[in-house]
Every structure is written in C-alpha cells, then in structure tokens.
Amino acid sequence: MKKQNTFIVTAAVTAAVIAAFWLLLAAPGYTGNEINMTRGVTAVSMTNYQLHMVVLWICVAIGVIVFSAMFVSIALHRKSKGHEAAQFTHSTTAEIIWTIIPVVILVAIAVPATSALVQMEVAPETEMTIKITGFQWRWKYQYMEDEIEFISSLQASSNAARRLASGTDPETVENYLLDVDKPLVLPANTKIKFLITADDVIHSWWVPALGWKRDAVPGFINEAWTEIMEPGIYRGQCAELCGKDHGFMPIVLNVLPRAEYEAWVSQQRQEMAHEQSQVERLWTRDELMELGENVYAAQCATCHQADGQGLAPAFPALAGSSVTTGPVQDNIDVVLHGREGTAMQAWSKMLTDSDIAATLTYTRNAFGNETGDVVQPQTIARIKNG
C-alpha cells in the first residue's frame, strides 16, 4: 500500500511541476521568448495561423479526452486497490465508433486545409516579379521589370560576432544573425510574384510573416506569390540545410508604402548607372586595394579566411597559392566562373565588375602574394562580354 502511495505522489508532483512550468510560460503576462506561430501580414499567413490554432485545439481536446480516460483508469483500476481485472477482449462496435469519429474529425479539418492550400497555390494576376536566387550563403534579388539587382548578405556585425569564440556577446549585436547589408525592398499592398531558384545547392526562402517557405532548387524555378498588407521590416532565414553557413544567410524584407518604394526604385537606378560609369574609367592601385579589402572581408573571408590561409581541406589558402600568384587570366577565370563541384562560386553572377577587379587586385597583392598585378574593372567587363 505504501509503495502505491509513493507512486501516486511522485506522479502527481511530476505532472504538477511540468504543467505549472508550461502554463507559466504560456500565461498572458509572460514576456519572454515567442512561443507561437506568427499571424503574419498576408492573407495566406493569417489563414495558416487560424488553421494552425484550430487544429492545435482539436489535438489538445483529443489529448485531454484520451489521457483523462487513461488517468482515471490508472487511478481506479489498480491491483493495490483490490480492483479485479475484467476479462472483456474486444468490441466491434467500439472499433467502428473510434474509426468513424476520427474520420469525421479529419474530414472537418480537411475542408479548411484544402481551401487554405488552394488560396496559397492558385496565384492571382501579379503586378511585379522578383527573381530570388540562393547562393552559398547569400541571396540575390532581381527586380525583373526595373532591372535592379543586388546581393543580400549577413550584416558585418553579426558576421564578426558569430565566429567561433569571437568574444562578442550576441546579446550586444542588434538583430543578431537576422540582419543583412541590403534588404529586399518591396511595396506594400501589391501583388508580387516570386521566381525562386538556386545556383549551387538547394536553399529555402522563408519569411514567416508571409506565411510560407519555398525551396530554391538549382536548375528549376519555383513560383510563389504574396501581397503584404502592412509596411515594416520582416525577417526570415534560409530553411534548407545548404552547407556550413546555412545558419548565416538571413532574409530581411523592407516593405514600404507604394510612393516610397517608387522613390527607392529610381534612386537604385541612378546608383546602377553610376556604377556603370565606374567600370569604364581607369582605377588607381590604391583605390582597387581599398575596395578589394572590403569586398574580400564581406564575401571571401568566410571561406578563405581573413588572413588568406583558407580552411583545410575544403577551402584552399590564397596566400602563396598557384592561382593567386600564377597567370592573371587563369585567376580571373576561376573567380568569374567558379570551380565545379566545390563551394567556389561563379562570382560574375554576384559581384559588380569593379568589385571583382578590386578583389583580384587585392588577393594578388595581399597575404605576401606581391605579384604587383593591377586588374582594371574594364578588363573584367571585356572578358565577361566575350
């Protein structure tokens, strides 16, 4: 008898502690970490939130009923209380009932689940198109109508703090791991089509506030659409394992009212025109070295390391390498077109001609490479255009 009491007390205390623990965290006054799915800012995300909550409560109800029956049985039908075991073995009626009731519940869930999926997958007429390309480990955005394109990478402050034993407390970095150098700027209340693909491995583009994620598959183009109802900053991350820096390729949306968005577009177009004129002029060695050092730190150092020593075995050293100290032509070729089957990408798709020229100049003269070579942006442009 005493043993059974110990059992009941242990079980009750355990259950109470666990329940109190979770209820406390879920209580309305709780101000700590978020514990539920976002409602988001699109019709699709709100539909998904509602469906999630409905099914969650159905599951809770099923759980409460099933577990209650179990706990009643555990409390009453125990040998220590002298309960004699009944010897019934089956009931076809019962089996039919608890087959049919779940089927009815499932059909009831399937109806809203089907309409939610149709709402998401059947795209309306869209007003603009953004092409998203996943790279290891950054996103490229192209505005198909406005001919704007840029790369969006992890913000430098996060990128420094996230190094192994960096000594920087992530709590001191604003939006740690969820900030980028150039966010994707989008207009509010506009139906936008996304064309999603990847250049190297599979990535997945996910902003929870939009209500979905979609895989970016190399060689294939996936479509998705959205209409964001409220201007604001929305953050997300790559959701498909894509290599060592999978955790470090965030997505940031800066959603603007229509008029502000238009202003941003014209400013971007001016900047791109300015960039074009930069390619055509001759740069000094110092200008190239300065820009090259910045680009190297932002784009190359992740793999080849700040000191050019690389990370054996996957990421070769640039210091004293046969590529960075060999013929310029071959070096340009590797940077522009990448190396098949390795993480070395075709940078012609991601960086401007000035950036590439500057980086080449930098890597051929830094880390003790001292080749004395200067690579001009117009050289890169000429090679790229055949």
């Binding site: 059992f7 242990t10 355990t14 666990i18 970490n33 978020e34 514990i35 799915m37 976002t38 998904n48 469906l51 999630h52 099914v55 599951c59 099923i62 759980g63 179990m70 049985s73 125990r78 040998k79 075991a85 010897q87 089956h90 009931s91 019962a94 089996e95 608890w98 869930i109 399937a110 999926l117 997958e121 996230r162 192994l164 407390d169 992530p170 740690y176 791991l177 190297d200 491995v201 599979i202 929870p208 209500g211 979609r214 895989d215 190399p218 060689g219 294939f220 996936n222 959701a239 498909e240 394992l241 290599g243 060592k244 999978h246 955790g247 054996a312 075995p313 996957a314 089957g341 390795t342």
Partner: protein, 547 residues
Amino acid sequence: MSIESTHSHDGDTHDAAHDDHDHKPSGFLDRWLFTTNHKDIGTLYLVFSLLMFFIGGSMAMVIRAELFMPGLQLVEPDFFNQMTTMHALIMVFGAVMPAWVGFANWMIPMMVGAPDMALPRMNNWSFWILPFAFTMLLSTLFMDSGGPAAGWTLYPPLSLQGGQSFAFVVFAIHMMGISSIMGSINVIATILNMRAPGMTLLKMPLFVWTWLITAFLLIAVMPVLAGAVTMLLTDHFFGTSFFNAAGGGDPVMFQHIFWFFGHPEVYIMILPAFGVVSEIIPTFARKPLFGYTAMVYATASIAFLSFIVWAHHMFTVGMPLTGELFFMYATMLIAVPTGVKVFNWVSTMWRGSMTFETPMLFAIGFVILFTIGGLSGLMLALASVDLQYHDTYFVVAHFHYVLVPGAVFALMAGTYYWLPKWTGHMYSEKWGKIHFWVSAISVNILFFPQHYLGLAGMPRRIPDYSTQFADFNMISSIGGFIFGASQLIFVGVIVHCVYKSKQAATGRVWEGAKGLEWTLSSPPPYHSFNTPPVIDSTTIAHAGEAH
C-alpha cells in the same frame, strides 16, 4: 550452468529434455564470433545497439552544448553539421533498428515455439556486418574531408560537395542495408515456417505480427535507399548526372526516391514498438489485449499507408496542387489506424488490475508521449501550414517525440520486461523506476520547448541562432544533459541484473504474463523449443477473440 533451480511454473514440459542438449560453445570466439544461436546473436545486437545509442547520444550532447546559448562556443559550423548528420545515421541505423532486430532474435523463436531462427548462419552474418559498417561510417569523422555533413537525408547537390569520405558513407549504408534485408528474410522465414503446430497466424503475439509486417517493409524499401545512394556515388565520382540539373538530372528526384524509402523507414522503427507495448500493457493490467484483430489490421493499414505518403516530407519543393492534396489526405488517413491502436491500449488498461513495475511505466509513458508526437504529426500533415512548420524545430520536436519517448521508451520497456527472462535474475525495481522518472521528466524538458522554438521561427540544422530563441534552447539543452546522463542508470541496472543480482527470476516472471516465452525457464534453455510446445489457450495471450 544449471537452470533447473528456477523452474517454478506450470506447463513446463520442455526444459528437462533440453538441459542435456545444451551445447553452448565453450571458447569466447566460438561462442560470440561464430555463433548461430538466436539468443547469443540477439544479445550481440542489443549490446551493439546500446553502444551505438551512447555514441549517437554523445553527438547529441555536442549539438545541445553548442546550442546552449547563442554564439559559437565549441565547434565550427561544418563540424556541427557532421554531428547532426552522424547523430541521425547512428541513431536510426545503428541504435534503433539493430535493437529491434535484437529483440526479434531473442523473442520470436520463443514466442512462436521454435528452437531457433530459420536461417542461423545468415543470422550470424547479418549481425557481424554491422560492426564493420559502423566502423567505416564513424571513421569518416577522422578523414581529411570529414564526415558527411549534408543531413541524414543526404540531399544532393549538397551531399555531393562532400570529399572522398563520401564513398565510405555510401558503402557503409549499403552494408547496413544488406544486414537489414538478411535480418528481415530470417524473421519472415521463421514466422511463416517455424511456428509450433496450432500457433495460427491470428494467435501470434502482437510483437511477432508487428515484426512480420516490419520485415516486409524493410525488404521493400532498403533496396530503394541502396539505389538512391548508389546514384549519389556515381554522380559524385563517375560524372553521371542523375541529380544534376545541368546534366539533365533532377535534384528533387532524389528526394522522392529517398522518402519512398524514408517514410516506411520511420514505421520500421515504430511498428515493433507498438508490438512490445501491446505485450506489456495486458501483462500488467492482468487483462487480455483489447481488440487484438483490430490491432493486427491497424498495423497492416499503417504499413500500407506508409508507401503512399512520402511526399509530405517535400511540400516545399514546388509540387502541383493536386499532388499536395493527395499527399495531405493520405497522410491525414494515418491518424485513423494509429488512433485505433491508442484507443485499444487505453481500453486494455480500462477495468484492469494494474500494477506499475518499470516496464509498465515505460509503456504508459510511451502511449502518452507517442500520442503527443502523433498529434503534432497530424498538424504537420496539413500542407499549407506545413509551409510554415517545415524544416523548423517544430518538426524536430515532432519526430523526436515519436522516436525517443516513442521507439526508445518501447525499447527500454521491452528490455525491463524481458531482462529477467533473458538473464534469470530480477533487475533492481527501485533503480528502474528512478531511471523511468528521470528520463520521462527530462525528455519533456528536452523536446517540448522545441515546439515553441519551431513555431516562433527557428529553422532546424543551424549551429547558432538569433537571441530571441535563447531561453528555450537553454531549457532544452538542460533537459538534454539530464536525459543523456540518466541513461547511465539504464546501463547500471542492466549490468547489475546480469552480473550482480541475487534475486532469481521465475519462469513466469510477471504475475499476468502470458505467451509461450513464459513457459520456458529463466534463463531459457540454449535452444528454445526442441520439441514443439502444445498450444493451449491458457498459456498464450491470444487464444482467439471468438472464444
């Protein structure tokens, strides 16, 4: 070694005849390396899987330690990815699957009234392949190019970026597959050919039924996995383009092939668990299993459905609407037979005369926590919301609920249940219960917060995270450390039971136990039944519902 002293049960007509023919090999190598005995091979499988459980578990400790707080403190991201990949491969192929084959080896011949497995020499080979396969797999961690780091799903093109060590991974998977298929052939041959006269299919214990169905699943899908990884191998080393879009291939095709294997695979890990729990609950409720026939049909239905739901792992790859609807509906259907099982377990307990020894505690823990994992599975089935849940910690929480307090709790329940039968000694009930309570509490602290993390937007397979996820990651890690450490109690209880326990087990062991294995002495004779036992309705658990 004398076993007569433990005879204390009824219906015992077999043992006396056995003792004279109990030819245990004497040398260590003869006994273990060249063994063809189902019990010795079962022991080898179980010890091997326990070792793998700790190796895979220590990788989980590395993962939880790195995720203890934001920022990278311990390992580089690439090594973190090797740990998540290896943890899964080791736990799935090295811990859970071989453990179930170990149970099958020990119990199926005793449960159907056979002297041994049908194909004893193949049995030896199917075990001894495994240590070599896993040595090869683990050795990749020490190679220049490191271990596999693309996740256990090995999705190309990422997995193809791995270095030379990838070939070792593929060959290790081939060997595990060969081992599993041979084990399955043996199980099927034993069950279909070696049952004692009168042990009709619908009188077999549910554990035997679930393993029979599992064995067919294994034979159906392990070759599919072998094909998939072979194509990865040739894409990587021989320039083919099965999964390379630039060469006319399709990376998504790999995912379809992988999950055609992968979804039945998750049922391969859970169906024998259903079987074990269906043995334990009636024993400690002192009441026959409710709805035996329905349980058999439910298991078969789950197995069938497992072949037509695979693409629910791939709702985000860009499938046509009709495809998504089909896989959503088919997946939701699985809730029906799974529900039938849970309702039958509860009905078995209902109006029983229950006691709560360690096996029963783990079985009840299984039913509750597996049901929680099943319910989150229903949520994941809904394709549109899955586009939010997919690849987040919500999924991690879901599959760990069905695998850890699911499959692993059932393995522990089965171990405590049959350990006295295997060893002839009782384990320490006190320490068994401590093991249960510490495990049951810590496993929830470990995995429950991961639901919150996923819903709040934390992707899986990341080595570092934004500060908004800090609290629950720390709680989860603390739970993980306690859960990991508490498994040392399990080892302690087993070692004590095998080598130190002075309390002899009776043949029956448990007051309410029914089934042929309990008619044998504890420990049972080296060859279980040399003459077929007489099947009578008082000794077996399922004498037919109609009577």
